[in-house]
Amino acid sequence: MRLFGEDILPLAAEHVVLAVVPVLIGLVISLVLGWWAWRVPAVRRVLVPLTGVLYTIPSLALFVVMPLILGTRILDPLNVAAALVLYAVALLVRTVVDGLDEVPDDVMTAAVAMGYRPGGLLVGVQLPLAVPVLIGGLRVATVSSFSLVAVGAIIGQGALGALFTQGFERFYTAQIVFGLVSIVVLALIFDALWVLVGRLLAPWTRAARGPGRSAAEDDATVGARV
């Protein structure tokens, strides 16, 4: 499908890959860093504010500086990807710490008392319970990533963002609007995908407030009432 002299579908696919893959890599890094910060108060005091500051670095500046840090060529797509990983980490470290904080104390106590070791506790109890918070953070990080990719167009690596740079050069509003709308639509699709993933991974969140059988109206206790 060609529009505005561009092959749109490969461009959209590139945009998706450039936006989503760094978020996933950032998630893995954040899980490690976040868990470390959650366990060690001193690490938390440094790491959480630091990642917050990271997010305030202007994206364009980061794209330009990246080659100096990574030793890549100016136009290497890796620059944009690496910067986006950094932004994802900036957003998600705090999310992971918050998510782990979210696990109720009595649940942690019970789990430890039943004989969970730290690894099993993390995988079997803490992370599943952090899913709702993690999904929230991932939605923000993903949507943000979709818009940041477009900025990469200025250094020639913007995927659908190219529609902006070219549109501005030609004063062609329709092209700019089309680029804008397609990025927003893609971002919303992936936002919805995260919601879906959240529902699949955490069915219990809906059970908790879901309609229907509440304990009060359907007392399933039998016996013991003399």
């Binding site: 109720p104 009595d106 649940v107 019970a110 430890v112 039943m114 004989g115 319970l129 059970a207 016996g223």
Partner: protein, 370 residues
């Protein structure tokens, strides 16, 4: 002489019962200088419920957590089946000890069935096998097996606590630690849960260490009760009846409360209570109180001048205590308590005077309870 209250647990109170948990001069001090526990020596014996009771800050939860190494003592030893727990791998040790906490602490993200199956799965049993065990346990603690597929948030507080008990039983651990398990539920549900625990315990005979701040709960459940002071010293370690009849000092006397004389009645059986005849019948009870019975001779209502009045609390003659008998008499609208058998059929009437007379005849209640 009043006979001993039918709590069968009283029977095995001798010191010859095997010690399962032993605290030997156990102390816990924190680096900042806080002393949670000064020096405690205490033995919990096989098949008994040993209750630790005391005001907040007396170190009772700390003591409990030393058994499964969630807290390590800074002095002294904790022995489980004769071996110091200090040398055991904490996770492996904990899998062999049931644990119930306040608010149950159920996993919100797992169904009730999978919550109960947790420890068997940790112990390496297959999920299917663990779920089968879990389903049986749900029934055992008085829950409909259908709740197994629900999430904890869909249960009431009392139901969650039952699940918590089932989960602690699932690993077949001979020892259970219970940390204020029934404190967060309302009094009616709490009484249900306490009854349930006693019923379960009479089937299972686990060694239970139970922490509470509620002296009534301690007296109701405990085979032995340890009263702790703030700072973690043992004020008295005794059978509940003895705690009520002869508190060791003012602290214990104050702690067990003002109406301990009345509460002591629950440890006195009412087996020799003489029952009187009650006027019964379906007539309208003109000129006096008449107890109306159904076809199976179960009391339905008191009737007076054609008016129906609820019967008040019934006294069950099989295993009832003097406290129950007195309460039946005092709560009856006619002034005469109603005694029934195990199936709820009428046996006779109870006069408060007869209960008091019986009480007078049992001169040494604490001695009788031993």
């Amino acid at each position: 002489m009043a006979t001993i209250c039918a709590h069968k647990r009283v029977a095995h109170l001798s010191a010859s019962v095997r010690p399962v948990i032993e605290f030997r001069d156990v102390g816990k001090a924190y680096p900042d200088g806080t002393v949670a526990l000064r020096s405690l020596s205490l033995t919990a014996r096989e098949g008994q419920i040993t209750v630790l009771v005391g005001p907040s800050g007396c170190g009772k939860t700390t003591t409990l957590r030393m058994v499964n190494r969630m807290v390590d003592p800074t002095s002294g030893q904790v022995l489980l089946d004769g071996a110091d727990v200090g040398g055991r791998d904490p996770a492996a040790l904990r899998r062999g000890i049931g644990y119930v906490i306040q608010n149950a602490g159920l996993f919100p993200h797992r169904t009730v069935l999978d919550n109960v199956a947790t420890v068997p799965v940790l112990l390496g049993r297959s999920r299917r096998e663990a779920r089968t065990t879990a389903a049986e346990l749900l029934e055992r603690v008085g829950l409909d097996p259908r709740v197994g597929s629900r999430y904890p948030a869909q249960l009431s507080g009392g139901q969650q606590q039952r699940v918590g008990v089932a989960r602690a039983l699932a690993g077949d651990a001979p020892v259970l630690l219970m940390d204020e398990p029934f404190s967060a539920v309302d009094p009616v549900v709490r009484a249900d849960l306490q009854d349930e625990l006693l019923r379960l315990q009479s089937d299972l005979g686990r060694t239970i260490l139970f922490v509470t701040h509620d002296i009534d709960e301690a007296i109701r459940l405990g085979d032995m009760v340890a009263v702790l002071r703030v700072g973690g010293t043992l004020a008295q370690f005794a059978h509940p009846a003895e705690l009520l009849s002869s508190p060791a000092d003012d602290f214990v006397a104050e702690f067990v409360g003002r109406d301990r004389g009345y509460r002591r009645l629950q440890f006195l059986g009412a087996g020799e209570l003489t029952l009187t005849d009650l006027p019964t019948g379906p007539d309208d009870g003109e000129g006096g109180w008449v107890l109306v019975l159904d076809d199976d001779r179960r009391p339905v209502t008191w009737r007076h001048d054609g008016q129906d009045v609820a019967v008040g609390s019934l006294y069950r003659a099989d295993g009832g205590s003097l406290r129950g008998a007195l309460d039946a008499a005092l709560s009856s609208p006619s002034g005469r308590g109603v005694a029934v058998d195990g199936d709820g059929r009428l046996l006779g009437g109870i006069d408060a005077e007869a209960v008091i007379a019986l009480l007078h005849r049992s001169s040494d209640p604490a001695g009788a309870a031993r």
